[in-house]
């Protein structure tokens, strides 16, 4: 039904625009707590785009890991390192205008290249149902080595973070 497709397209574009507005908020808001909350909004928007791309498991994992855990970590760090005078301190350094020009140039060149490149689209992929069982088989099949390595990385990160943040015992 074309009307439902239109509504879905409107929804996807709305998620994209909300994500971009929130991302601009992440890099420009003066108060760091508000920037962290804007990052949570971006992450939820990106999870919406994942659902639009029919990657539901990844969307749920994104919300669980990023919004549930990483944002908690970031907000704890923001709260523990807050300085009292931070409201009046300028939070952009002198390179802001140069950086702005640089990234506008970068985005425009890349967007032009993207719109003109002939992408080899495989039409049978559009309706392929990727469910969790298939992802599990791939993770324990061809990708078992990165899977094991990433478990080692996570243990190392866990132990490293605890040791670094613990401080000295007198």
């Amino acid at each position: 039904m074309p009307m439902l497709d239109l509504l879905v397209k409107f929804g996807i574009y709305a998620a994209m625009i909300i994500s971009i507005v929130a991302a601009i908020g992440v890099v420009t808001l003066r108060s760091l707590f508000h920037a962290a909350l804007a990052l949570a909004a971006v992450l939820v928007g990106i999870a919406g785009i994942f659902i639009a791309l029919r990657a539901e498991f990844l969307a749920m994992v994104q919300i669980l890991v990023y919004v549930g855990a990483v944002m908690t970590l970031v907000i704890f760090a923001v709260m523990l390192t807050e300085r009292l005078g931070d409201k009046t301190v300028q939070q952009n350094n002198q390179q802001s205008w140069l950086a702005l020009i640089g990234i506008v140039a970068f985005v425009s060149i890349l967007a032009r290249v993207i719109m003109q490149a002939p992408w080899p689209i495989q039409p049978q992929n559009a309706n392929f149902l990727v469910d969790t069982a298939m992802l599990g088989k791939v993770l324990l099949g061809p990708f078992v080595f990165p899977f094991e390595v990433i478990s080692v990385v996570l243990i190392a990160a866990l132990i490293g973070a605890i040791v670094v943040a613990k401080g000295d015992r007198k």
């Binding site: 039904m1 439902l4 949570a40 549930g68 709260m79």
Partner: protein
């Protein structure tokens, strides 16, 4: 009788289909489901508050509220009117956007979870194929709203209560998620409908709670769910004698009503999920499926209120120790036992799983014994 609500919704859709164009059918169906949930959620919350007050009152040898309406049945309406008409006090230093958004963002996940609960046969609002993961993911976003509430109030007690609450919720999420893994192994799907249907047959003995690993997983999931809702005995972050009221100290009126509503809706969804995952969902012999679901859920909610009425509160170090040192290793062993359940014959697997789980439970209780100082003897001069 069993398909009462399904037929009701279908007749409403047919009625709407007379007026509306073709493409609006799906949207109308979604709107009916959403309307039902939006009505069901707060009404359940209201009557849960009444249930809690009356049951806790009976446990404390007194009658609960019984003035407003017969048996106090209109008490929640009176409470609602009271909360609506209270003055909305905002501290002067509070961060306006954060302070305002926090109650909204804490009610939203509590309501969103209602979409994957199977209330009866074919009565799931949205049958996602990652339904269980959706439940876990959405209920883990509550931590951000609690941070916002505690930070936006600019109050040291709020901040402290908020940090404790977040630490508790994050610690208890991990055993909760891991204790569900054996259920996913057994049902081979993440969809809540499929999990309920995988427990069918055998006159109810196929429910996951009757298997050794399922029983341990049920207890762990229920305990972690009670901790996630910040209810007794895990209500250190918000008990009145502890830290004023924790992260919702500075809220009054309708905003406090939203926090209260979120807590009770969370309690309902945790009970509903426990029933779905372990107790067979809507299955039962004679009565309609939605009635069985309601009865089982209310049994579990009664057990939650029972905990509140009888158990003392846990201290913060006991709380964290329980999650990290006791429940988490037990869930790992539970996953191992559940995995090996499918590879052994019937008598071997029952005895071996009960043996392994019993031994590990005993080991962890021995390892977690509190430190007892040796008794001192005083030599007093006579």
């Amino acid at each position: 009788m069993d398909a009462l609500f399904v037929n009701l919704k279908q007749s409403m859709l047919n009625l709407a289909g007379v007026f509306l164009p073709e493409w609006m059918t799906l949207i109308t169906s979604m709107a009916i489901s959403m309307g039902a949930i939006a009505v069901l959620g707060p009404v359940i919350m209201m009557y849960l508050t009444l249930l809690e007050r009356k049951v806790v009152g009976r446990m404390q040898n007194r009658i609960g509220p019984n003035r407003v309406g017969k048996f106090g049945l209109l008490q929640p309406l009176a409470d609602g009117v009271k909360m609506l008409t209270k003055e909305d006090i905002i501290p002067r230093n509070a961060d306006p956007v954060t302070h305002l958004l926090a109650p909204i963002l804490i009610v939203a996940p509590a309501l969103l979870v209602f979409a994957v609960i199977p209330f009866g046969r074919n009565m799931t609002a949205v049958d996602l194929n990652v339904g269980l993961l959706y439940f876990i993911a959405v209920s883990s976003t509550t931590t951000i709203a609690i941070f916002m509430a505690s930070w936006g109030s600019r109050n040291k007690f709020s901040l402290l209560g908020g940090m404790r609450s977040v630490a508790q919720m994050v610690s208890y999420e991990i055993p909760m998620v891991l204790s569900v893994v054996p259920v996913i192994l057994a049902a081979q799907s993440l969809s809540t409908n499929t999990i309920v249907e995988a427990q069918s047959g055998w006159m109810g003995f196929n429910w996951f709670v009757f298997r050794p690993w399922g029983f341990v997983a049920f207890v762990i999931f229920f305990l972690c769910g009670v901790a996630e809702c910040n209810r007794s005995p895990f209500d250190l972050p918000e008990a009145e004698s502890e830290i004023v009221a924790g992260f919702h100290t500075e809220y009054s009126g309708m905003k406090f009503a939203l926090f209260y509503m979120a807590e009770f809706m969370n309690a309902f969804t945790i009970s509903a999920m426990t029933v779905t995952l372990f107790l067979g969902g809507w299955q039962g012999p004679i009565l309609p499926s939605w009635l069985w679901f309601t009865l089982k859920t209310f049994c579990l909610i009664f057990i939650m209120v029972w905990f509140r009425g009888t158990l003392p509160r846990l201290r913060v170090d006991q709380l964290m120790g329980l999650a990290w040192k006791f429940l988490l290793p037990l869930t790992f062993i539970n996953i191992f036992v559940a995995g090996s359940w499918y590879f052994a014959s019937l008598p071997v697997r029952i005895t071996s799983s009960i043996l392994i789980l019993g031994v590990s439970f005993w080991i962890f209780t021995q390892l977690n014994k509190p430190y007892v100082r040796e008794k001192r003897f005083y030599d007093l001069a006579d």
